[in-house]
Amino acid sequence: MKYLSEYRNPEVVVQYLDKIAKIATQKWTIMEVCGGQTHSLVKNGLLNLLPENVQMVHGPGCPVCVTPLHLIDKAVYLAEEKGVILCSFGDMLRVPGSKKSLLEAKASGADVRILYSPLEAVKLAKENPQKEIVFFAVGFETTAPANALSVIHAQREGLKNYSILTSHVLVPPAIEAVMNDDATAIQGFLAAGHVCTIMGIDDYYPISKKYHIPMIVTGFEPVDLVQGIYMTIRQLEEGKAEVENQYGRVVKPEGNPEARKVIETVFKICDREWRGIGVIPNSGYELRPEFADFDANIKFDVKIDKVEESKECIAGLVLKGIKKPYECSQFGKKCTPTSPLGAPMVSSEGACAAYYHFSQIANN
């Protein structure tokens, strides 16, 4: 497939790896922010190919993982309401709430559907006028335009039975949260290419400057990742702390203005709780009051109690890159993908699950 296969070329990867090994003179710790990058690194076995002194740390870049417990409980509650069809992306279904996951709610009879796109939820609402369709709208900036568009489509269709339960999170505040922790060891960032496709790269200049840290907007294929890592280390070796764009074929410096306009029309910035991290100010989107009719939070006034996370779970530290998953006392013991204790074990994007699934090789 064009624009995919070329970026998986083993020879190019090996050449970049060679260059990395040549220029990395000391131990460097780099965080890839995005779960998709984590996934690609482990799936392609790249972690084992990097020189030992280049340490990748998996960031909080999995929107499924950082969705707080009580929001999942709320989604489960709505799914179990008579007449409600609750829809979401496949990865959201397995995440356990405080009592059960959406998949378990479905097994007990709730009408839960996996959709490829929020636009299909709007179609579903049109086809089922006697049902309430709730789309559990999770995601980073990348997914926000699609979720926002679904609301605009529903409004245009005059649908009264469509609403979204938002759990939108924003990347730059999370990066700042990571850097603000004194324990952090992060020296460079691979910024999330698809987030920047929407938002552009302007947000990163002040961060890079404030923390004096290189930030490379990076793609997701092996070649992208090794180039991004090379560019980061090169900056580090040269003592630089700049924003660079490895992923220019997709990311324009200004991002995607149409997409941002749609986001701004529908959403406004709000404080947001991140599972395992806590509330980060101005780190999420919620629906604007003009779209209150499409806000499942308002439409269904459900009181769900906040619930405590497992005490043994060190997800916060893992998500900030302070600890590796295998440093958690429960990793692979009480906490496994079939019975996750914390969010990062749930989605295959989650740092703990990624390690569990792909990186056990480290144990051999």
Partner: protein, 85 residues
């Protein structure tokens, strides 16, 4: 996060009385629908990056080559830094 895949637009049709452009996008032999609302300039033949049914960017062919050009450039650079490796 944010699985997004490049595919080629093979046809475009209008919906909602012309307000919305929907494309058929080809991914290595399979086609799926995607909204072009976020990429108003996208045309048949363009490669777009699609995420959850919405095209979010047109892939830039010139920029795409740079990754490989950059690699070629590194060699020269290193020659400038003989102290390393």
């Amino acid at each position: 996060m944010c699985l997004a895949i490049p595919g080629k637009i093979i046809s475009i049709e209008s919906q909602y009385n012309g307000i919305v452009r929907m494309a058929k996008v080809l991914f290595g032999g399979i086609t799926k629908e995607a909204s072009l609302e976020m990429v108003p300039k996208a045309q048949v033949g363009d490669y777009v990056l699609v995420h959850v049914g919405v095209a979010i960017s047109i892939v830039d062919e010139q920029e795409a080559k740079k990754t490989f050009e950059y690699l070629e450039g590194i060699g020269e650079l290193e020659e400038l830094m003989p102290s390393k490796g």
